[in-house]
Symmetry: C2
């Protein structure tokens, strides 16, 4: 193919992705408690013939809702320990495998998060991330330091934010539920309002494979508050999940019938 034709083809493909209505969405949710109310809400069913290889615990719930093919991907329970496969390794793997198997037009990474009251976060608040970055990948060698932090802008969704009146803040991701002093320094450097355990890993893979992604995070615990994180997280998980799922439902309703450029 001549260079000119190739250029036209690329332009058409790019325009096509952005201007055609969103058809297939993948919603990545790390915990079953967070995922199941949405599975019920959208009347999804578990895939009896997994699109994922033998051995992995990853679960796909799927169905159609209005004009959308909806897939909720939950990384499942650890085969040996029986707890949800939270964190960046599982999140990156299911993002990669879901994109390969389902070729979504849009990813929504939804989950609970810690919030910083100093930045205005309160329990039950739902945030859409404007930016994502890691806070526990310190590589003090020039340029490697930036690779470790891996700061990225999330998909710009001005119309969605205006219509749904959701809060907006920066998201910082790490593999620990707690926050060590050195993590705190990095989170401050990331200017984060919310802190989770998956977002930046999902963002990294989705960007490599060019899939636009929205991050919806609901605050279960105040990181700079008085209560121990694990205790506060478990106390609020069920109630805050209701707020999270309501917000995700509104995002899905808004996405339906639109193309990415209209979000």
């Amino acid at each position: 193919m001549a260079p000119h034709d190739e250029a036209v083809k690329v332009a058409e493909e790019t325009t096509g992705t952005v201007s055609k209505p969103i058809s297939t969405i993948v919603i990545i949710i790390a915990m079953q408690t967070e995922a199941l109310p949405l599975v019920t809400k959208f009347n999804l069913v578990e895939d009896p013939n997994s699109v994922f290889p033998k051995g992995v615990p990853w679960v796909r719930y799927y169905g159609t809702y209005k004009d959308l093919n909806i897939n909720i991907i939950w990384p499942g329970k650890d085969p040996a320990l029986g707890v949800d496969c939270v964190g960046t390794v599982s999140a990156s793997l299911v993002t990669y495998a879901s994109i390969q198997a389902l070729q979504p037009d849009l990813i929504i990474n939804a989950g609970t998060a810690g919030g910083f009251k100093e930045k205005g976060a309160g329990i039950g608040d739902v945030y859409v991330a404007s930016d994502v970055a890691f806070h526990d990948r310190r590589i003090p060698i020039p340029v490697f330091d930036l690779y470790g932090v891996c700061a990225k802008r999330a998909l710009s969704t001005p119309n969605l934010l205006k219509e749904l009146n959701l809060k907006v803040g920066k998201l910082s991701t790490g593999d620990s539920l707690d926050m060590s002093p050195i993590d705190e320094k990095s989170i401050t450097a990331n200017d984060a309002t919310v802190k989770d355990m998956e977002g930046a890993a999902v963002a990294y893979v989705a960007e490599l494979l060019s899939v636009p992604t929205i991050f919806v995070k609901a605050v279960t615990d105040i990181v700079d508050g008085d209560k121990p994180t694990a205790e506060e997280f478990l106390q609020n998980l069920i109630a805050v999940t209701a707020a999270l799922d309501q917000a995700v439902t509104r995002v899905v309703e808004f996405v339906n019938g639109k193309c990415v450029a209209e979000l």
Copy 2:
């Protein structure tokens, strides 16, 4: 198929995997500096038609050496920043994608590492890991704490260890090159002699997909020594890579013609 036949089939498959000579190996190496001498040594070529999807920077070098199909997988350079894609997210992704594409009989994860002199490690020592675990995934909720650490025994290779006279120690993995006080506590709890940025992620994925894995780690810097890690790492990288590559070559020579159960 009747349950009995299924059981026989599974037994045959299991026996087959362990008792047939190793044919295809995947060597996962995070840094180009570590990988290229081995590419030359085994006379491998870069795959012109990548087995990986468009967009990812992962590179496969392949060829045959004696009775083995050898694949060296290097996660490549970050598309935006141009540095090697080190760390657990890239390591888990290339392990997953390599297993899917190449169905190896054995994985070797080779790389440089920090060593603890208190545990007997010195610059240039090459270790085979007996155990792997994470040290930067703190989730202080019962059972989730164990999931975070994700401690696993590596493949038992008594004959290889005896023949090659390599050191043996426990490996602890985290996404930072430095060691924070809270990381140190976890590394001590993991009883680690060597510390890297990929091993436990490779182990996690390889175990999910039932591929036996050997970890070969060469010490570039003394974590509990006087010198700053980044400086010592860069100073010793080239020289220690020679020791690493020599050890990996000896492992490959030993593996050739054997089945997994003979290692």
